[in-house]
């Protein structure tokens, strides 16, 4: 069973429909309730909104954060999507400086652009991912495949060892980061048509 974390700040319906359509059972995990992570095999943190909001909502629920730390320590797979990926980092600078999960050492900063017509923020639309290292998550995904992005902030890794795919929008930024059992996608697989469903299915079948 695939858990989808409900942080109460965003719409889960597209992610849950996508996972459900791939043939997996889903469970919506409520952040303010106890003992919900025991019966799930994989957990997804979707995210639309701002880093400071997600941080506030998350750290207000102390019980849940210790449950999630436990879940991660057990080596069970965890996927952060878009803001969910950014929240895996140590800290973020959207609105004000706020704490992240610190599952992957990194910070989250505003993307660099030149504000021309071609490189405006947010970075919205279909763009390619350049795969840098092999991983089970790329099964059936060609290099330079297109995914749907929508974001203005990006992850800045402390250590490039965890960089698995990057994308170029004026400059290169991390589009997939992986550390042990933790994965982050900067794009939205649930909006990325066939490639998106395939990579989401790879995650749901992944045994780290």
């Amino acid at each position: 069973m695939i858990g989808i974390l409900d942080l109460k700040i965003c719409n889960l319906s597209s992610v849950s429909s996508a996972v459900y359509n791939l043939g997996f059972d889903i469970k919506i995990i409520k952040i303010d309730q106890k003992d919900q992570l025991n019966d799930i095999s994989h957990l997804i943190i979707p995210g639309v909104g701002s880093f400071s909001n997600i941080s506030k909502e998350y750290f207000e629920n102390k019980n849940f954060s210790s449950e999630l730390d436990n879940y991660k320590k057990k080596g069970k797979p965890l996927l952060g999507i878009c803001l969910g990926m950014q929240f895996l980092a140590t800290e973020g600078f959207e609105n004000n400086k706020s704490k992240g999960l610190n599952f992957i050492e990194a910070s989250v900063n505003l993307m660099e652009t030149d504000n021309t017509k071609n490189f405006n923020l947010p970075h919205v639309g279909w763009n390619e991912i350049n795969i840098l290292k092999n991983h089970a998550i790329f099964d059936g995904i060609k290099n330079n495949s297109n995914f749907y992005f929508i974001h203005s902030y990006q992850v800045v890794l402390k250590n490039n060892e965890f960089l698995f795919a990057e994308t170029k929008y004026l400059k290169k930024f991390p589009s997939i980061i992986i550390k042990d059992n933790v994965i982050g996608f900067q794009f939205h697989p649930e909006k990325s048509s066939k490639n998106g469903l395939k990579i989401l299915e790879n995650f749901c079948r992944w045994k780290p």
Partner: protein, 252 residues
């Protein structure tokens, strides 16, 4: 580099898919959910759903169809037609839309564009503009092409951009549904004055029309209704044709 987009345009009348010519002559063209699924499986980059029902302008009437489509189609969905409050917009987003398309309300209240962009993020706000050529000048219409507005195209676009609109969709009432070719002057004019992405729709009847639009201007997307509803065309075929002309599209 971002890819240029091919977008099927779905006009809705209650729960049916329809097609018009010059904003009139409604023709039933089928079930919107089945059509959306076919488009999404044939490499459409996005879907646009517009409520064009003249009697029922309530945007809530779109929700059942939107909900079904968003449960089956895993590409971005933009929705418009009759949206004139934050509540309407947020209901539409909750039911699976990624972007909100607004039109008539913009002329009455440019601030609405700004407040919507603040609350949803500017990427989620698309302003649609309907124009008609009168005495060789572009005149802007709202309320399903019925109300003439005094403001010029340039001024309207600059006000939309000042108020943080994310994208602009431009429709020619003269070309709409005719399949006889796009208004290339209009495309050029609009792309020259706008620094936000432009979606052009109206008049596309074959692949060369789409090629011309992309070649002549920096348009970000072309939306087609009749081409996909009345011919055996689909986005896959459009893209394999355009590939020959070095247009930067999402092929895989």
């Amino acid at each position: 580099m971002l890819k240029k987009r091919i977008i099927p345009l779905l006009l809705l009348m209650d729960d049916r898919l329809v097609k018009t010519v010059n904003f009139n002559n409604f023709k039933d063209v089928g079930n919107p959910v089945s059509s959306a699924k076919i488009f999404s499986n044939s490499d459409a980059d996005e879907l646009i759903l517009l409520n064009i029902n003249r009697e029922n302008r309530l945007s809530s009437s779109l929700i059942p169809v939107l909900k079904e489509i968003s449960e089956e189609c895993f590409i971005p969905i933009s929705v418009g037609g009759g949206i004139n409050s934050f509540n309407d917009a947020s209901e539409i987003i909750k039911n699976g839309a990624d972007k909100i398309i607004i039109n008539s309300i913009c002329y009455e209240n440019y601030n609405f564009v700004k407040s919507l962009a603040n609350k949803l993020g500017r990427q989620a706000v698309v302003a649609s503009i309907d124009v008609k050529k009168i005495n060789n000048k572009y005149v802007l219409f709202s309320n399903c092409g019925k109300k003439l507005n005094q403001i010029s195209l340039e001024e309207h676009i600059s006000k939309l951009i000042k108020n943080n609109v994310g994208e602009i969709m431009i429709n020619s009432i003269d070309c709409e549904g005719t399949m006889s070719g796009p208004d290339l002057d209009l495309v050029m004019q609009v792309t020259n004055i706008s620094n936000v992405p432009i979606i052009y729709s109206s008049g596309v009847g074959n692949y060369d029309h789409i090629k011309d639009i992309f070649k002549i201007s920096e348009v970000s997307a072309v939306a087609c209704g009749s081409l996909f509803n009345f011919t055996d065309s689909n986005p896959i075929r459009v893209k394999s044709y355009l590939k020959n002309y070095n247009i930067n599209l999402r092929i895989f």
